[in-house]
Symmetry: C2
Subunit: 518 residues, 2 copies
């Protein structure tokens, strides 16, 4: 029952907040006075930069993913890629460039995607007349401008037209790992950047039912990844028509609650109906010999998930990475004062490193002479390394070592002979504890509101997820968004209790989840 905990179970229906570490810390990731995220000075960006995950480049809104941040992405990719392949998908690669005219094919898609994007108009630079630099060669203007892909439905469906003739060619289950570009006005490292890395699945099916099931299956894959690997509790549901992907008939999503009380959309899976098949004229001969348009899905997660890890597990010391995705799972730090103590301590540390690595544990040994143990402790806490092993001369004598959990900061002393079992056991405990805390946090900070003025108070003062009745109209949805900055994050799956809209008083078929969101 991997998703049991992600069902909506507000344990506290009066809206009271939990205590201690389950409380929303609305200042946790706030921006500093008069400083913009773009400059990398907000608390969140500051943490991302200090932990060595990423930094802004000189190119507006584009980030540099540094080795430590990229290692997390590699671990995420490895897990997700396996999950995709285990569900029958293969990878392919489609061009970065999309002819401008493709965007005009699917009416709502063009509204959503063809606007804020990078446009290539020329294919050559030349030396300036004064020889000081280069300039765009006006003679090298493209006949049709090319858009850098903001998402690849159009270029992929243009290919699917050639690949699909018969029901025998279906289903077509393809995924792509790629970079995409959306010209965002306000950017934040990982959460919203002009260029980002992602995967986009694009599937084609013979029946509506099969396509809907595919979209649901991939949402389940995302939810399982979020919970079992990121240790991040998520809600599952569908978007309102207003919040839907441009061109989709239904958008399913997973939504997580960040420590500052804001929601984060962590993955979406779209049932696209026959919209793209119609736009690109992709028909197939059915088993019965008739012709029909193909049914489609698309689904994606991105480097935004790394931002989610930061916003859901950090504390005042820095990151707190779930062991299953931590680039370094165990850091070994030697502690000695006298020169003659160095050699025996170093020798024990190296032996431990080797043993851990042989077991496939991502251990590292920081034997640098230029940094003090105290500096190292802080540094690896900042970087969120799940376990720290400390070895000093006394430990060498006693054949023990100290091991410290990053999540609870609990210390224990362990006999060297129990190294592997202790490390494995603690890694699992940290993973489980982070997830348990994330579930409790979401539950404690999910409230049910029946009254709009109280709703506004809660949104303003403490955030979190709010379950409230809504009349199903875009009008009410927009009014709430304008007045409170809260949006409908999702409509929960399954039967809900009917009621009356907290704004209009009109009938509601069930409560939906509101939050301010990233």
């Amino acid at each position: 029952m991997p998703f049991k905990d992600s069902k909506i179970m507000p344990v506290n229906s009066e809206g009271r907040m939990g205590e201690s570490n389950e409380k929303i810390n609305s200042k946790m990731f706030e921006k500093k006075n008069n400083q913009t995220e773009e400059a990398g000075t907000g608390q969140y960006s500051d943490l991302v930069v200090r932990a060595g995950l990423a930094e802004y480049s000189d190119v507006r809104g584009c980030m540099i993913i540094k080795p430590y941040g990229y290692s997390i992405w590699e671990k995420m990719q490895a897990v997700l890629d396996k999950m995709f392949k285990d569900t029958g998908h293969t990878n392919a690669y489609f061009p970065l460039f999309i002819p401008k005219s493709y965007f005009s094919r699917e009416a709502s898609h063009v509204e959503g995607f063809a606007k804020e994007c990078a446009v290539v108009t020329h294919y050559r630079l030349k030396n300036t007349a004064d020889g000081s630099g280069v300039e765009v060669d006006p003679d090298a203007k493209l006949e049709e401008e090319l858009v850098i892909r903001p998402t690849s439905e159009t270029i992929i469906w243009n290919s699917y037209k050639k690949w699909i003739q018969s029901y025998r060619d279906l289903p077509l289950l393809i995924n792509q790992w790629a970079n995409v570009v959306r010209w965002e006005m306000r950017t934040r490292l990982f959460l919203r950047t002009t260029e980002f890395l992602w995967q986009e699945g694009h599937t084609a099916h013979a029946t509506k039912q099969e396509a809907v099931e595919e979209a649901e299956t991939m949402l389940d894959v995302y939810a399982r990844f979020a919970e079992d690997f990121m240790a991040m509790s998520v809600l599952k549901g569908k978007k309102t028509p207003y919040e839907r992907f441009a061109g989709a008939e239904e958008t399913y999503c997973i939504e997580a609650l960040m420590l500052d009380g804001k929601g984060l959309q962590a993955g979406t899976s779209h049932f696209l109906g026959q919209n793209f098949a119609r736009a690109f004229d992709v028909k197939f001969s059915t088993k019965e010999g008739t012709q029909d348009f193909v049914w489609a899905t698309s689904w994606g997660v991105s480097t935004r998930l790394i931002g989610g890890l930061v916003l859901v597990h950090s504390d005042e010391k820095g990151l707190c990475l779930p062991p299953k995705l931590a680039p370094i799972q165990v850091i070994i730090v030697p502690v000695y004062k006298k020169d003659e103590e160095k050699l025996p301590v170093d020798s024990v540390c190296r032996e431990m490193l080797l043993k851990l690595k042989e077991e496939g544990i991502d251990a590292a040994y920081d034997h640098s002479d230029t940094r003090s143990p105290g500096w190292k402790f802080s540094e690896y806490e900042l970087k969120g390394v799940p376990l720290r092993i400390v070895v000093g001369p006394k430990d060498v004598a006693n054949k023990t070592f100290e091991i410290v959990r990053r999540d609870t900061r609990e210390k224990s002393f362990v006999p060297v002979q129990n190294l592997l079992s202790a490390v494995k056991d603690l890694l699992q405990k940290v993973q489980e504890n982070l997830f348990r805390k994330s579930v409790e946090f979401r539950e404690k900070n999910t409230t049910v509101e029946e009254n709009y003025s109280h709703f506004r108070e809660v949104i303003e003062e403490r955030g979190g997820f709010i379950l409230a009745h809504w009349d199903g109209t875009a009008e009410t949805e927009k009014k709430i968004k304008e007045e409170t900055k809260a949006t409908i994050r999702l409509i929960p799956f399954g039967d809900q209790e009917p009621g009356k809209c907290i704004v209009s008083g009109n009938p509601s078929t069930g409560r939906v989840v509101f939050a301010r969101a990233y």
Copy 2:
């Protein structure tokens, strides 16, 4: 001694050609009359398309890498990535966009790279007045144009400036897996496309010697990959100044000989001196307390390698993939006539599939009812699957199966109980045989020429690698290129025998390798 065979050892110094399958087939990959590669109709492109590796997109010179082709790239990536990590490198990700002005910083780099490239000038589209489509919004013009990276030295060294202060920050050993764009006038699937996928390593060092050693180490990694995994014999050496990477002080390369007698540059590793450090003002404090510019290397291989696999191992039946990189290593095909034979045959095939997969062998079972066994045999030969297992009713009765090698087309009958050992043994034999053939082919088709008119005859009539004396001037190099279309592929490492240039008669310090090349 992994590179023993890649030393230049022309076994046949009179220039006689080898026989049978070691002979150059200059018609093998020729273009059909009046047909362009762009249309995908040349023999090479035709094979790439028919085998399901890739196809052209509607966007000029951009290809779609189809699942089968992408699987080869994934296998290449996995091996190379491990080799990079084993030699101390980590991955990171830098932006797709490079501000135009960056290219002006390094004088020779701008000449080489800032010319034929995709330029982003605008960041928004808007609806046309008549509502029929979208057009570039003239109000959304960028202040400074952005170039889509053709290679990332400039944007990466702009970051290294911030990352490197002291010798303690060195060496910095970073690799990036990315897409790059070069606006090529003539394109060929995999070999030369406008957009391609590659990896680019960018390292920074405290000393010249360390940087040179790094560039050499990475060339060795590439050579080992080409020979041990691609089963493709390569020569190692350095480029002439004229053929060097723009901005490099020395370019090392591996060069392979294709079945049609043309050379293929399969990987390059550049010693960049202090050029980029000077251009981006990257200095560091040395151990001695002085300030110095940082020393640099860069190195890369690309999806072009997939083209190399096609051009070096194919025959009249199609591809012939080396087992270590084949997406499908073993294809199982059932053969039966009567309905009642289907079940027992199917059951044995499924059991075999499971056993092979459990051993980590990439096996597949084609149980499709809509295609005949004969069609399947041809299809998997075309796709270059190294081994084919055929199971019929007689095999079921005899507890045997038929196994056929793709490279030699030899058949054997094997008891089912020997499945794993037979498959493993044959996979290794196919891998070794492909490499051995590649070495022999290169050796047989490498000639030594002392006379320019004979040189021209050989180039024109049969191609291959030609070892000849050259006076070291760009003038002679260009003359030969213009008159014969042959270029200097590399200057071999190590001491060479001095002599006289075949064109000018001036002194030469040693023979260099000429060929017409892709």
